[in-house]
């Protein structure tokens, strides 16, 4: 297997200008690296790709859980900071109108109201979750239906 799949000795720090710097022994520091999840839906906790600002992969962390706690926390924070995919926790109302749907939901990032243009924007992920894309292009994560309360499930009945 490719050696970079295994996270060898490295460190990530944030420099004075707020940029993320990758430090590896014996190699030059790389400033302004980006973190990306390779499997953001199917295994969000694993396979984090450390990339240069040009999009070239420098390192692939197969399992951040094996890293020292401080480094792990820092990676998680960076990933969280860099993404906005609210998880829907409760559905207040879904109003199906002509051609679009108006969703009113409670998410882990607060209350949200958005418009979904077409049914195709609600995508079924293989593990039973859904991703919902609104008219502006924001993506929301909808957990498996059985993890929602009854009122929410009822609201979705005609859609899913």
């Amino acid at each position: 297997m490719n050696p970079t799949l295994i996270a060898d000795d490295f460190d990530l720090i944030v420099d004075a200008r707020g940029r993320l710097v990758l430090k590896r022994p014996g190699l030059e520091d790389v400033t302004d690296v980006r973190l990306r999840r390779a499997f953001p839906w199917s295994s969000p906790g694993r396979y984090v790709s450390v990339r240069s600002s040009e999009g070239k992969e420098l390192l692939l962390i197969s399992d951040p859980a094996t890293l020292p706690p401080a480094l792990r926390e820092m990676i998680e924070r960076q990933l969280r900071d860099g993404s906005f995919i609210p998880r829907i926790e409760r559905i207040v109302d879904v109003d199906v109108r002509f051609g679009y749907q108006q969703w009113q939901v409670q998410t882990d990032r607060g209350m949200a109201e958005f418009r979904v243009k077409e049914r195709e924007d609600i995508r079924f992920m293989t593990d039973g979750r859904y991703s919902v894309k609104d008219a502006d292009g924001n993506v929301y994560e909808l957990p498996r239906l059985d993890q929602l309360d009854h009122a929410s499930q009822r609201a979705l009945q005609s859609l899913l």
């Binding site: 990306r36 999840r37 390779a38 499997f39 839906w41 199917s42 990339r51």
Partner: protein, 769 residues
């Protein structure tokens, strides 16, 4: 020539031997073929027989022998439906035999055999191997041929030729599919009979209600007339309660049973349709590429989905309802005749007319439904054709014409639909009218009897019961007439479904097929010829050997047979003639699925399924871990751009998914092939050019892919051609040149050199443009 050649005279058809007047006596028969046209291209029959010393040609004019030493060459010429076998002497044409497509395979084989035995001829393959090849051909023919219809018997049929099996009635076959649900269906049938029987009861209760409670009269056998029954008010009320209660119980019980019956049936019906749908879809996947080339996608989709669905109605309700209706008719008619045969005969007077009429209508409608389906599939074909080509339509601004095309087909379909509606709606009032005519007759005659013949057994109660019976009698008849439409529709759907199920797979694993531990990956073509249906041969007597791990570049002008070549190696088709060996075993002797797992395919237009990128990479190995997926994607130079997608490997691709560039799709499909890790790799290189950076990345990916595998690449790019260990140049179905890029490029006037020079000129023109 070896002396211990097999004399095949015993196998020579009698018909061929008959006209030879003993010319074969003392000769060894080696091979023969039938030619079926005379010199004016009229159908005729004649034979060509090869013996150890001569070729015996049997024509209309009689047989003649041509000594082998007089022959200098034997050639075949292909024309439009008629081919010729020319036997040429040292200075003149000795014989020219004409034959149609049917005889082509046998004649080409014979030509090869004669050619091999001509004195002074050096054969392409040694005699020993050629004899072995002959033997293989004969054995395969003998083993798998149905003695009755001479067609190949597929292995799945267990030696019973499906074409010769007596075709059973379609609807019976459908019930056969329902076999696993026999207990439920039997239960439903019993319930149906009970319900039908109970339907006879209410009219009898009416009769008693009237004759015992409302107007108590009884037949006095002594006076031979009806007399009023002396009953008190309480007695009459008591009687009323008893019969009403009986009526109520009947209604509740029969509706309760009826409800359960429908539930059981609906459920069994759904299960049967599901089974059928699964059967059809699974069978579809056993069918060969040839089948899919011939059938429209739209028509196949209809067969798998709506046709199987339409059968639900029939299985759930149609079949059992027919039983119910028929038994009800019998029960009621029997009771009516028992109660009063004169009134019964009157009431049933219109019945024969109805029966005859419904029967003929049904025949007519069956044909109409079939035609309607044809129009429907034509309609769907327009949509199926237009949607994938929507870009072209828009570019040519041809929307109006496409809409027109659709509407024309749609109008045609509607017209057919309306024709059917005219037929059955015309039937409806006639059936209903006749039925009411029966009622009127009963009123007239029954009323007349009651008024005039005081001594008759016909009471008001009997008449009321009769009226009720007549209504109940005609209801199932109406139902039958209506379900007629459903049944004919189901029958035509069933026919199409069974059409798919009855199509034998052309490519299949023989009995005792081979699976091995591993594959070396050597490929050998031995005198392989192949032709697609009714077309000119796409490959002609190709013989070559590919070593394990070798990378072959296939090139040649379009239509040269490159795709056919790889189609045969992938066993999408079986050779028409000759033999294709993989690791020295006939490709047809391997288990198809095992062999395909050893073979990888990277298509010119990579097909990505609807699903995530990761799903597509692990298509051949669904259990691959994320690490393996990443490793394969890395080797294919795809990892970087995949992780750059917002959803990474979880990005949806395929229909309605993320749009990918050609180079990206290519690399994902290469990753798929790398993960699949085949021993034999087939690469159909895209002709379209990509920018040089992408090209470089793809080439790098390909280098990783072909590493250590036998690779056959249909190559267009110079870099691929140069990377190949050996190039095989095909032209008009024949191998015309072989060698490395350098060797062939230097060859003066060679096909490859010419091809490449033109291509290079084109490229430089493009570069300067």
């Amino acid at each position: 020539m070896s002396e211990n050649v097999e004399n095949l005279i015993a196998e020579l058809p009698l018909e061929a031997r008959a006209g030879l007047n003993g010319q074969l006596d003392g000769h060894v028969v080696l091979a023969w073929a039938q030619h079926d046209l005379d010199e004016h291209n009229q159908l005729a029959s004649g034979w060509v027989i090869l013996t150890e010393t001569s070729v015996i040609v049997q024509e209309k004019s009689g047989p003649r022998a041509i000594a082998l030493q007089d022959i200098s060459e034997v050639l075949t010429f292909e024309g439009l439906g008629v081919d010729r076998l020319n036997i040429i002497g040292s200075d003149r044409l000795l014989a020219s035999l004409r034959y149609s497509r049917r005889a082509r395979r046998d004649m080409t084989r014979l030509q090869r055999k004669i050619q091999r035995r001509l004195p002074g001829k050096v054969s392409e393959i040694s005699n020993e191997r050629a004899d072995w090849l002959d033997r293989v051909e004969r054995e395969t023919e003998r083993a798998d041929t149905c003695p009755k219809c001479k067609n190949l018997i597929p292995a799945y049929a267990d030696g019973v030729c499906p074409r010769c099996m007596q075709k059973r009635k379609i609807l019976w076959r459908l019930l056969d599919v329902a076999r696993p649900y026999r207990p439920q269906l039997l239960m439903a049938l019993v319930m149906t009979l009970v319900v039908a029987l109970m339907a006879v009861l209410p009219p009898i209760f009416y009769q008693h209600l009237i004759d015992h409670a409302l107007e108590p009269r009884i037949y006095d056998a002594v006076q031979h007339k009806m007399v009023d029954l002396p009953m008190t008010r309480d007695q009459r009320l008591h009687s009323l309660i008893v019969w009403v209660a009986a009526l109520l119980v009947t209604i509740i019980v029969s509706e309760w049973i009826g409800g359960w019956r429908i539930r059981i049936l609906a459920r069994a019906g759904t299960n049967v349709t599901r089974d059928l749908r699964h059967m059809v879809y699974a069978h579809l996947h056993t069918l060969s590429m040839r089948y899919f080339a011939k059938h429209r996608t739209g028509s196949l989709i209809t067969r798998v989905t709506s046709d199987t669905d339409r059968l639900w109605d029939f299985i759930a309700f149609g079949s059992i309802n027919v039983v119910r209706d028929v038994t009800m008719i019998i029960f009621i008619a029997a009771y009516m005749f028992y109660a009063n045969w004169e009134l019964a005969a009157l009431a049933l007077l219109p019945l024969p007319f109805l029966a005859v009429m419904t029967y003929y209508r049904a025949m007519k409608m069956q044909a109409m439904f079939g035609r309607m389906w044809t129009y429907w599939s034509r309609l769907t074909a327009v949509v199926g054709d237009a949607i994938p080509g929507v870009k072209v339509i828009k570019a040519f601004s041809n929307e109006k014409r496409e809409i027109g095309r659709f509407e024309r087909r749609s109008d045609e379909y509607t017209a057919k639909e309306q024709e059917i509606h005219i037929v059955w709606t015309a039937l409806q009032p006639i059936v209903s009218g006749l039925m009411q005519f029966g009622t009127v007759m009963v009123w007239v005659v029954g009323g007349y009897i009651i008024i005039t013949r005081a001594g008759s057994q016909v009471t008001l109660g009997v008449l009321t019961a009769f009226m009720s019976f007549v209504a109940r009698f005609y209801a199932p008849i109406m139902e039958l007439a209506n379900s007629n439409r459903m049944i004919t529709r189901a029958a035509s759907s069933a026919q199409r479904v069974f059409e798919v199920l009855d199509t034998p797979p052309e490519i299949y694993s023989r009995k005792g097929s081979v699976r091995q531990e591993s594959l070396q990956g050597s490929i050998e073509f031995k005198q392989v010829s192949f032709s697609y249906e009714g077309a000119q041969p796409a490959l002609r007597e190709v013989s070559l050997k590919i070593e394990p791990g070798e990378m072959i570049g296939l090139c040649g002008p379009s239509g040269a047979g490159k795709s056919t070549f790889v189609n045969l190696v992938s066993r999408f088709y079986d050779v028409t003639d000759g033999q294709l060996l993989i690791d020295a075993v006939d490709i047809r002797d391997y288990d198809v699925h095992w062999l395909r797992r050893q073979t990888g395919l990277v298509l010119q237009e990579p097909y990505l399924f609807h699903g995530t990128v990761a799903d597509n990479v692990r298509y051949g190995n669904p259990d691959a871990s994320p690490e393996e997926v990443i490793a394969a994607a890395r080797a294919a130079n795809a990892h970087d751009f995949i992780v750059a997608f917002p959803d990474g490997y979880d990005t949806l691709v395929g229909e309605r998914g993320q749009s990918l560039s050609g180079g990206e799709r290519q690399r994902i499909s290469i990753a798929r092939a790398i993960l699949h890790n085949p021993r034999i790799l087939i690469l159909d290189e895209a002709t379209s050019s990509v920018d040089s950076e992408t090209e470089q990345k793809i080439q790098q990916a390909l280098r990783n892919l072909v590493q250590g595998r036998t690779t056959i690449a249909i190559a267009h790019r110079l870099s691929t051609l140069m990377a190949a260990d050996r190039l095989i140049v095909l032209d008009k179905g024949k191998v015309v040149e072989q060698g490395t890029h350098e060797e062939l490029f230097e060859k003066e006037g060679g096909v490859y050199a010419k091809l490449l020079k033109t291509q290079l000129e084109m490229n430089s023109m493009r570069a300067f443009a």
